[in-house]
Symmetry: C2
Subunit: 312 residues, 2 copies
């Protein structure tokens, strides 16, 4: 973990899963995936108080859980229950810009009903991974006095469970979604209008991820944008958004503040973690990062985007 | 024109044309278009030595030429010859993200053979608009000692006239194209690899435009990215790339330098001019900008993208 951390506690509710991925680099089977895995692996560099609430089946390899534990992630909230683990089967296009879901086996995740322990209810920062909005709300209501409630969502919930999602959004301060989801949720193609519409639904802050084009933050202090860092070797974009969110929330746990400067640094930190993640399969890109490596890429984003403010 | 300019001279060879545009805001007929028009209208805010070399037909409205002249643009190189003007007919999708070319009438542009005057041959900065690469090279060879030769190109020339284009690229220091063109020219989908490949073809600097996602610069000083500024009211993206290039080159004419800091500021200035351009039809968005308006949006790009460089 990076030094001098305010070390606030951070809870992620989401999936710990297995992925089968095919694409230009050939098939990869039974690799560690799931929103909570990617999120926690990224966040654990910034606070040693990361907790996961999730569920896995009897088939889930113990080595994956051991790995998460080795990163000082509290996995006491990862229940192992009878049945099969959540398993996603996807195939990427040759240029990695699009992917097809070949199959999704929910397994034990279908009956996931997160119940938080006393310690989990005391958490400082809460991230509601991409699960049913009614479950997201149940979790948010169990947490006593969170400093920040952030959430992800997806097309399925927007299309099929909108009333439930709208109720959840009223309890969320920060929503982290991609551009397609923002357009779908708001009914506006224009991202500035989409952001304004979504911020009226509840979240006072909104992050819109745009894949390799970077990410935008819309909040009370205006708009902030991080361009994507051009990377020569991208192998697997799976989990990029979750590792972005993990780096973002991890940075807030580390900094102890949520002022405008901290949130900008959190956007960069999220981008740093996602940039390392996509260079390898599963979350291998986040396994062995040094503080120097994280700092180096933070500096790379700075060099990429900074310019002098001139008086013309 | 903005004050304190180094006021270097800038020549654009390209089209001065008529556009018929249809889309979500209804039809707009016979409006002023063409790469040289957009480019020059943007550049003229930064130097009063902008010259256009182009050709128009007998049908070309004098008011359009009068407008360009009123902006202190030297249009003595715009020949009027018998025949019809270059006329583009396009239709945008409802969300303005894609467009279809309904018709392109080359008219007098089909026989365009740019011949430069003595004064034009002495120009400081040269921009080769999107014309046949063999013509681009002829123009580049007529200019005596340009401080910078920059160029645009398009899919047609990349696909059908590659040997000619490759020859031209060896005489070009800066290429300004969009992401699709970069991928087509390099044969690489990954933009970092595409940029590396194109820079081996001749241009030591490369700007890759990504529409509303901003623009990237790849050059000897590394990579610089400008995110797109989220705009609520976009009406007509036609000419955005040309006005970007005009603002970019205009800034270099204004600053007098081409060092790393000047080139970053040029990227921002290009983005400023394109952002104003797309808010109205034709080049109306560039007709009446004050120095304060340009400064204000330069500041908006600064606020959008700046963050503190932290030691983690």
């Amino acid at each position: 973990m990076i030094g001098r951390s305010a070390n606030r506690s951070l809870l992620i509710v989401g999936s710990v899963a297995l992925d089968d991925i095919d694409g230009p680099f050939g098939p990869h089977k039974d690799i560690l995936g799931g929103s909570a895995s990617f999120f926690a692996a990224a966040a654990a560099y910034f606070t040693n108080q990361v907790q996961i609430v999730a569920v896995v089946g009897e088939d889930f390899p113990q080595e994956h859980l051991d790995y998460l534990e080795s990163r000082n992630i509290d996995i006491s909230g990862v229940q192992r229950v009878p049945g099969e683990s959540f398993h996603w089967y996807g195939k990427y296009s040759d240029d990695l810009t699009s992917r097809e879901t070949l199959d999704t086996k929910l397994g034990v995740f279908a009956d996931f009903k997160p119940q938080l322990s006393e310690r989990q209810r005391d958490v400082d920062l809460l991230f509601l991974g991409n699960i049913h909005p009614a479950l997201q709300l149940e979790v948010a209501e169990q947490v006593k006095a969170p400093g920040l409630v952030a959430a992800d969502t997806m097309n399925l919930w927007i299309n099929e469970f909108r009333p439930s999602l709208e109720k959840t959004l009223r309890a969320v301060q920060l929503l982290v979604i991609n551009d397609e989801e923002a357009r779908l949720l708001s009914g506006e193609h224009n991202l500035a209008k989409a952001a304004a519409g979504i911020r009226k639904m509840g979240p006072r802050s909104l992050v819109i991820k745009r894949g390799d084009a970077g990410a935008y933050l819309f909040h009370e202090h205006g708009t902030f944008a991080v361009p994507g860092l051009p990377l020569e070797d991208v192998k697997d974009p799976t989990g990029a958004g979750d590792s972005f969110a993990g780096g973002f929330m991890g940075y807030l746990a580390y900094s102890g503040g949520t002022d405008a400067a901290a949130i900008r640094a959190a956007m960069i930190t999220g981008s740093v973690m996602a940039s390392y993640l996509v260079e390898q399969f599963s979350l291998d890109g986040l396994r062995n990062l040094s503080q120097e490596a994280i700092q180096k890429r933070f500096t790379a984003f700075h060099r990429l985007s900074q310019f002098e403010h001139l008086t013309l």
